[in-house]
Each structure stands twice: as C-alpha cells, then as structure tokens.
C-alpha cells in the first residue's frame, strides 16, 4: 500500500471505527478528483468521515446543510454592494473550500442541487458573468438519505452521474459500536486529529494517479462492463461513457493506493459497483421483483471475461 495514502486512511481510522472500506473509497475519489455520494441513514458517521478526511490532508473543510429553503447563492456565494467602496463585492459561498460536506443533498430544491452539481463538475463558479476557479483540491462529499424517505427531492440521473462513487456507510457491528461508545465517553477524538499530508502533497498524489497505466485490455474490460449494463433487460438506463471514464479514473486511484503503477482487472471489478451503482436505473418491474442494482452488477461482473492475455487488437 502506498505509504502516504495508508497514513491518511489510518488517520481516518483513528476516529472512524470499522469503516476502512468507506475511508479507502473516499480517498480513491479524492485522489482521482471525483466526488462521493454517501447514502445512508443519519447518524452512522457520514459527517465524521468527511471531517476526518479533511483534517487528515490539512484541507479547508466546509459544510453545507441542505434544507428545502436553501438558495443557490447560499452555496456558491453572493455579490454584495459595499457602500464604502461603491462596488459589488463577492462573498464566496461555502463551495469555495477544499473539502465540502454537502449534507442531505436531496432535501433541497433541484435548483440549488444543480448549482452545487454544476460547480462540482466544472470546479468553478460563475457569478455576475465572472468565472471563479475553485481552489484545488476540490472534493465534495454529499450525503443523502435513502430516496424512499419523506421530504426528499430525488437527484436526477444527470446529476448523479457527476458523482464518481456512491458509497453506503452501513451500521457498525456490535463490537464496533461498543468501541464507538467507549470513545464517545471521553472527548471526540476528531478534535485532536492532525494532518498527515499537506495539500501540496495531495495535489502531487493526484497528478501521480493520472500517470497510472491502464493497459488496453483492461480498458476493454471496463468498456465490456459498461456495455453490459446497457444490454440487461432489467435495466432501464445503462451507464454512460462518462461512467466508463469514472471507472477508469477510480481504478487508477485504487491502483495507486495499492502502490501499483498499473491497473488490474481486480481494481476495476472491485470499484465497478461503486461507480456504476448510482448510474443505473432499473425498470420498475425489476424493482418490484426485489432485484437490486447490486445483484445485476454482480451478475454482469461474473459473466464478463477477464482479460488474461496481453492485449491484441481485434
């Protein structure tokens, strides 16, 4: 495992108990410049996760609590007339940080959602005709309550596509929960958490991730998986080529995390459910039958052929 990345994850683990996988996946998203959608019920440590991650890399952490009455300007910022200087001054919104926790994103109106998501995609905000780049690294971790909950505005598929990974936190097991209680007795350890790498080092890591080699046979494996989602009868909408790119980038980051400078099908296979899961829309019939996206992706992965030879043009 890559030493720096290992350090980040271990740092997170100091406060998050039994959530190594979530931590790893979050770091993967961070390294590949993508964003994460955390989906789970409240109270399982989503916020703690993001905070820990932000602290570990020494990044500026901002939190936006999405409410039904939140306006786009509350997210991206607003220009205010300064009577002293007789000029409009831009007051940057919380989006202009490094690591942003967009809490309960599906509770706000679509208008505000799209303001957030657009800035996520472009890594910049446009206000009053001026485009402002958001400082790098820029990492949004959005959380949403499961869509079946009351008072939610489900994210449209085009928006969902902008998240690199969708991760479920899940409940800790009994042992872990006892440990959580034990720690909560005293002060929250998050307060004492120190950064393990600097922002510059993180940016350098992001650059390195882009250098991770993806052999054509592995690319073709990614494409094979992506195409398979478009040909399954239970799926109403398969994944887009953007999803294929996302899978590749995530795999690169995951490979880097393993301290490897090339991507293996193992990486792709492991990440595919997290990358594709939220981009697939099942047919209602399939949903009624209780088939989940996980089941179908599982099936696709089992049926796809792992390349075990050097790539040869077909």
């Amino acid at each position: 495992m890559h030493k720096q990345i290992e350090a980040i994850i271990e740092n997170i683990e100091k406060v998050m108990i039994g959530k190594r996988e979530v931590a790893e996946l979050s770091v993967v998203a961070l390294l590949s410049g993508g964003h994460v959608l955390l989906e789970d019920v409240p109270g399982v440590g989503k916020t703690m996760m993001v905070k820990a991650l932000a602290k570990s890399v020494g990044a500026e952490f901002k939190r936006i609590q999405f409410t039904p009455d939140l306006l786009p300007s509350d997210v991206i910022g607003v220009s205010i007339y300064n009577p002293k200087t007789l000029q409009f001054e831009f007051r940057p919104g919380p989006i202009m940080g490094n690591i942003i926790l967009a809490d309960e994103i599906n509770r706000t109106s679509p208008k505000t959602q799209s303001a957030l998501l657009e800035s996520m995609e472009e890594a910049s905000v446009t206000i009053d005709g001026k485009t402002l780049d958001i400082a790098k690294p820029f990492f949004v971790m959005a959380t949403q309550n499961p869509i079946e909950y009351e008072g939610t505005y489900p994210l449209p598929e085009a928006q969902l596509d902008r998240f690199l990974l969708k991760i479920k936190m899940g409940y800790p097991n009994a042992q872990e929960e006892i440990e959580v209680l034990r720690r909560a007795e005293r002060t929250q350890p998050i307060i004492n958490l120190l950064p393990v790498i600097s922002l510059d080092e993180l940016l350098a890591l992001q650059e390195e991730v882009k250098q991770v080699y993806v052999e054509d046979s592995v690319k073709s494996y990614i494409v094979q998986l992506a195409r398979a989602t478009r040909n399954v009868s239970e799926i109403y909408l398969g994944v887009s080529p953007r999803a294929s790119i996302a899978l590749m980038k995530a795999s690169q980051a995951y490979a880097k995390m393993q301290d490897r400078d090339y991507v293996k099908p193992d990486d792709v296979q492991y990440l595919a459910p997290f990358v594709f899961g939220h981009r697939i829309i099942l047919r209602p019939e399939a949903r009624y039958e209780g088939i989940t996206t996980e089941d179908i992706l599982d099936r696709i992965i089992t049926k796809s052929v792992i390349p075990i030879k050097r790539y040869a043009e077909q």
Binding site: D261, Y262, P265, D266, T302
Partner: protein, 730 residues
C-alpha cells in the same frame, strides 16, 4: 510413503504365491510353444523374487540377473562354457546380430537365444511390477485378472487344459487379495490388531473363498459357447462359410513346412535377396518327393545322406547343366538370413566373397537343398556367387522321349502317390495327355491344361482341404482357384498318374529389376516371389522344369534343330512362347483395372473388408473417446513432459502461465471467466497451502497489465511453475 510395512516373512509368503501363479503362466507357454528348460526359467523367477525380497541393491541385482541370463543363453544354445572365449564370442555375436535385426524391424529372423533373452527380461519386468503391486499398491487384482484371462483364453482356444490351473489361481489369488486388503485397512486405520482379532477377520475370508470355490467346482458348467473365434469372425466378415476347415491366413514367404498346404495368404514384400545376373531365372531351393494328399514331405530315400562341397568345386546334382561356353555368374546378397543357397538352373559351383573364407556347402541328397556351413555348423551366408550354365534341350530329344526304359529307382521314388488319391484325378490326367506321343508332349499337355479350363489364380479365396479330402482333388475338381502350390502340386500328381516321374520344387521366382549396369541387372527378390513349380524327368534328357501356375513364365531353353520341319517349329515356338506373354497380359489387366477404377479400389477395399473397417473404426472411436474422457489424466502429463525442459522466459511466460491454468482446470480448479487471476491465485494457494501461485500471478499480472514489465526472476517462476504442476498432477 515407502516404508517397510511388510516383514520379510510376510512378503516371502506372498512371493511364494506369486511364484506359483507365475508357474501357471509358464506351463501353457512352454507347452504351446514347445519351449524346454522350464526349471531354469522357474529358477530365474525364483531368483528375481528372492533378490527383490531381500531388497538387494539394484545394481547388484541387475548384475546377478544379467549373469544368469547370459549363462542360460550360452549354456543352453551353444554348449560352451560362459567363461570360455567361444562362449563370450557366441553371446556377443548373438547380441549384435539380433539388435541389428531389431533395428531393421525384422522380427521374424530374431534367433532363439535372443528371444529367450527377451522372454527372461520380460519376466524380470513382470516381477518388478508385481513387487510394486504388492508392496506399494497392496493389490494384485490386475495381475490376478490378467492371469485368469490368460489361462482362460488358452484353455478355451487351445488344447491346453487349464481347469485345475484356474482353480488354483483363483484360490491363491483371492486369498492373497484378501490378506493384502486387510493389511491396507490396518495401515490406513492405524489399528493394532492382536492375534485373536486378526483371526476373526481372516478365518471367515478363507472359509468364504474355500466354500465358493468348492461350490463353483461342483456347479454344472456348459461347454464353451465360442470355442474358436476364427471361423466366427470370418463368417461375420462374410468371407467364410463356403469352405470348411478354414485355418488362419498365412503370410507369403519361404516356409519349411509344406505338409499342410492350402488357405489364403497375404503379401509380404520383405526383400529376401538381390541377385546380380545377366538373365532372369527361377531360384531353386529344394525339392520334395512325397505327396501325402495334404501336402509335401521329404522322404528319407537316402538315409542321412548329404554331400559336402568346397567353394568353387563342381556340384553334382540331378539336373542337367549347359555347355562350358554358356557359363555365367550371378552374385547373390542375402538380406534375409535364410540358411540356404539359391540355385539357378544349370548350377555348377558356388563361390565365396573374399571375406568369407572357411565356408563349406552341404547338400541334402534328398531335397538337393544346399546349406552353407562354417566350422561344420550351419551358418547363414550373406554374400556369395553362383556359376551356372543354362541347359539347352534339343527339341528332337524331347520329341523322342519315351518311358520304356525308365530307371526303376526313379520310378519308385518319383511315381509315389497316396493310396487314397481319388480315381478321378488319375482319369483326368490320362484324358489330358490323350493323343500325345512323347513324354515331353504329355508333360506339356498337362502344363497347358491349367491355362484353360477356367482355373483362376488367387491368393485370398483359397480353400483348405477338409479332413478326408485330397488337396489336389479339391483344387482340380471343386475350387479351381489357387496359387502356385495348388497348380504345381496338381501337375506333379497328374504327371505321376500318367507314369512320368516328377517332383515338387520350392524356391523363388525371378524378382524385379531394380538396377541395370550393362548386361548385368540387379534383381530384387522378395517374399512375394516365393514360389513352387514342377520338375519332370524326361528320359534321355533329364529333369526339366515346368510352370503350371497361371501368370508365371518358365525359362527353359529349347533348341529346335533343323531336323524339325518348318511348320512344326513355328507352331512349337508359338507354343513355347505362349507362356511368356501370359504374365504380361495379366499385368496389363491389372494396370487397366487400376487406371479405370482408380477411385473404386479404395471403395472396393472398404467394401471387401467392411467388417475390418467397422471394427477398426469402432476401436479408433473408442480409443478417441477414452483419450477424451481420460484427458485430465494424461494431458497434464504431456504438458509437463513437453515443458519441463522448456525455458521459462519473457516470451514463453504467457504460454506457460496459461497452460498452468489449463492444467489446474483439468484437475478441477476452474477459474470462472469473470474471476480475476489474483482471486483465483488466492484460491489455489489456499488449497495447496503455498504462495507459489500468488507469486507467479503477481508477476504475470505485471507482465500483461503493466506498461513496462518489471524484472521477473524467471528461475523462481519456473520453480513455482513446476511446484504447482507437480502438486496439481500428483
């Protein structure tokens, strides 16, 4: 694994049983093949068993066995002492000569001493195998089944009576199997049995085996339903049925035993010898004088008489020799170690090549067979040459021949006919020569008789006379289909029936020209040229050869002197030459058939041997199926064999790795197509409790997925590869 689980006494008991069973193997072999010295072979078996019982070091054991085999061969076959120079010389020459024959795949000529050697080596191997079965596998079931099958087959199909042998083998074999099984059980379970408990297990087994054997002995048994498979197979193939008393198909070639003629034979183009000579001629080997109505045997007219000739000495024989000025030479190279000298007509002397000093020739006065001898022992001679001058017969002499003053000794010997010869043979002969004046013309008439009257030359569809049938009678009146033996024997019998002394000659036809060098031509004579023909005694002229077989031509020269009228000569020359083109006509027919039915030949062959093809096909399919079903067993072995020595490097890495996957798959470790190599490797390593697969897979993944393949320690890879293959295939 290889522990001494048997005590010596225990093993000795098993070996005694094995010895008894092997003795039952030997008895029928000895009986049926007419081999002697059974006690010496039994001693060899005992020796081998004892050596393996005491776990004598294999080098010592091999030396002892080889010494015994050498002693056996030298003592039995040459009579010399093994320690003498002659004995060693005998051994070495036998070995070198026979290994040469083996290399040439000339199985038939391998000599008896060498066959004995091979037989003893076979026993040696067998005992090794049995030793393995007993001590390692602890089961002699296969050996027992083989033995029972072997004895059973011999008992059913031959005159060997194996009734008690089978009972003995079954009894001993079952008891042995039971004890070995018990032994295996004890070892596997790790149980300690005291004497009483052991007995509790053993006694019922012995009682059970004894009881079932006794019951089996007293049960009524039917006769074999299928005593001899050969007629059944032939009938099934649609080839038998019309003739009774079939025997197996023989192979063409020069045989010694002519006492039972008849039956089909198959072609054999083994080259017997090559002859360099100016003329094409028949090569005479020996004659036969006594016809038994089943075949020919040699009389003892001259008791134990033989004449010795030195090389180049004039040979006296019964045949006429041509004039001095017509003397020619022919050089013979025997390629097949027959023990005779081939004689052209008009033989004068036999000469030697330089390297063959010390040879003499011995002629059997009864058959006129000439055998080369060296140091008074028969010894095949490879290269020699013969001097001969072809006799020329005056037509006038032939024309004026009559039987008035026939030498009574000739008449006694060469007019012999079996008493039970059917009268119709005699009557036919008389009618054929009716109207002919001279002895020669009568003989000619009989010779020509076979060319007409719908006789047919065939080597396949040839009958064997039944118990009370005469060979000649069957051919002349019933089948009219046959080959040289049928024609020549019939002609001799017919000649004798009309009072003309005649004898049956065996030898070779002229062969085919393979090389021409000026006047000298090289003829290649194969086993297909083995032939028989007729010599008739024409008073005042001597023995003359006749050729009754359709499709063959004789080579006697007749001088039609001026005393004969013009017309008659023409007629006669036509007659004489008629024999010559016969072969040509026949050949042409063959050629036409071949060219016009080019495609049909194959189809015909299939039609004719459709059963053979069917059986062959079924066997092939069966074999293929077996190979396919057992592929997981043998393919890995083949892979390993092919690749063990192969270097594992960058270029072969992919291949070797994929092969490893394939072998693992055959052994039940199938990688699902969606399973990554890494997770598969983990599975394998977990199963074999190693990390070799992981190591290899890491390197391989780097090799196929990474941009630059990193430094891989291929020696280590090879080690892992071999380890995994061995684990998978063991």
């Amino acid at each position: 694994m290889k522990k001494n689980v048997f005590s010596i006494v225990e093993l000795a008991v098993y070996y005694v049983i094995v010895f008894i069973i092997l003795r039952e193997w030997l008895i029928p072999i000895m009986k049926l093949t007419g081999t002697g010295h059974m006690e010496l072979i039994l001693f060899f078996i005992a020796l081998s068993l004892i050596l393996s019982l005491f776990r004598i070091h294999f080098v010592v054991s091999i030396v002892i066995k080889l010494a015994y085999i050498s002693w056996f061969i030298v003592t039995i076959y040459s009579g010399y002492s093994i320690l003498s120079a002659e004995g060693m010389h005998f051994l070495v020459s036998e070995l070198t000569a026979n290994i040469g024959l083996l290399v040439q795949a000339n199985w038939v000529s391998v000599t008896d001493p060498f066959r004995t050697l091979l037989f003893l080596v076979l026993i040696w191997m067998l005992i090794y195998l049995i030793h393995h079965w007993i001590t390692v596998r602890m089961s002699i079931f296969y050996f027992l089944v083989l033995t029972v099958l072997f004895i059973g087959t011999l008992d059913t199909f031959t005159e060997y009576d194996g009734t008690f042998a089978i009972i003995k083998i079954i009894l001993l074999g079952l008891i042995t199997i039971a004890f070995l099984f018990l032994k295996r059980l004890i070892i596997e379970s790790g149980a300690e049995l005291d004497w009483l408990k052991y007995m509790k297990l053993v006694v019922p087994v012995i009682l059970l085996i004894g009881l079932s054997c006794i019951t089996a002995i007293f049960l009524p048994k039917s006769e074999p339903q299928w005593p001899d498979p050969v007629p059944f197979l032939k009938a099934a193939a649609g080839k038998g049925g019309n003739e009774e008393g079939q025997k197996g198909v023989s192979k063409v070639g020069y045989g010694e035993d002519d006492s039972n003629l008849g039956g089909p034979f198959v072609a054999d183009d083994t080259i017997v010898f090559t002859a360099q000579s100016e003329t094409k001629q028949y090569w005479r080997v020996e004659t036969r004088d006594v016809y038994t109505s089943r075949g020919w045997i040699k009389s003892d007219y001259f008791t134990d008489a033989s004449t010795v000739f030195d090389p180049y000495m004039d040979i006296t024989h019964s045949l006429p020799v041509g004039p001095e000025e017509g003397t020619k030479q022919a050089a013979i190279s025997m390629l097949y170690p027959y023990d005779f000298v081939v004689q052209p007509y008009g033989l004068k002397s036999v000469g030697l090549m330089d390297s063959n000093e010390g040879y003499q020739f011995l002629m059997d006065d009864n058959s006129e067979k000439i055998t080369p001898h060296f140091n008074k022992n028969p010894a095949p001679l490879t290269n020699y040459f013969v001097e001969y001058s072809k006799p020329v017969f005056l037509y006038s002499d032939l024309k004026n021949s009559n039987l008035d003053n026939l030498d009574p000794s000739l008449a006694e010997r060469y007019l012999q006919l079996p008493e039970n010869l059917p009268d119709r043979v005699r009557e036919l002969a008389v009618s054929v020569v009716e109207g002919e004046e001279s002895v020669y013309d009568k003989a000619r008439a009989i010779e020509m008789y076979f060319r007409q009257n719908s006789f047919r030359y065939d080597t396949d569809d040839v009958a064997i006379p039944t118990e009370d049938q005469d060979y000649v009678d069957q051919f002349l009146f019933e089948t009219k289909i046959g080959y040289c033996d049928n024609f020549s024997t019939s002609m001799v019998v017919m000649l004798r029936s009309v009072g003309i002394p005649a004898r049956w000659v065996k030898g070779f036809a002229g062969g085919e020209i393979i090389d021409t060098n000026g006047d000298m031509k090289t003829y290649e004579v194969t086993n297909n040229d083995a032939h028989s023909w007729v010599e008739a005694f024409i008073p005042n002229v001597g023995w003359i050869n006749f050729e009754p077989t359709i499709g063959f031509s004789n080579t006697r020269s007749i001088d039609y002197n001026i005393e004969t009228s013009e017309v008659e000569r023409d007629e006669l020359s036509v007659n004489e030459e008629k024999t010559e083109p016969d072969e040509v006509v026949e050949d042409k027919k063959d050629v036409q058939q071949k060219s016009s039915n080019g495609n049909n030949i194959f189809l015909n062959a299939i039609k004719e041997y459709k059963w053979m093809f069917l059986i062959g096909f079924i066997v092939l399919v069966g074999a293929a199926l077996l190979l396919y079903l057992k592929r997981t067993k043998w393919i890995p072995k083949v892979y390993v064999k092919f690749n063990r020595k192969k270097k594992l490097d960058e270029s072969s890495f992919e291949l070797m790795y994929l092969q490893l996957l394939k072998i693992l798959e055959m052994k039940g470790f199938k990688r699902q197509k969606g399973q990554t190599l890494q997770s598969f490797a983990k599975e394998i390593d977990r199963y074999f409790e190693t990390n070799h697969m992981g190591k290899m897979t890491n390197a391989y993944e780097q090799y196929i997925y990474a941009k630059d393949s990193a430094e891989v320690d291929f020696n280590q890879m090879k080690e892992s590869w071999e380890y995994l293959i061995n684990r998978a295939t063991s």
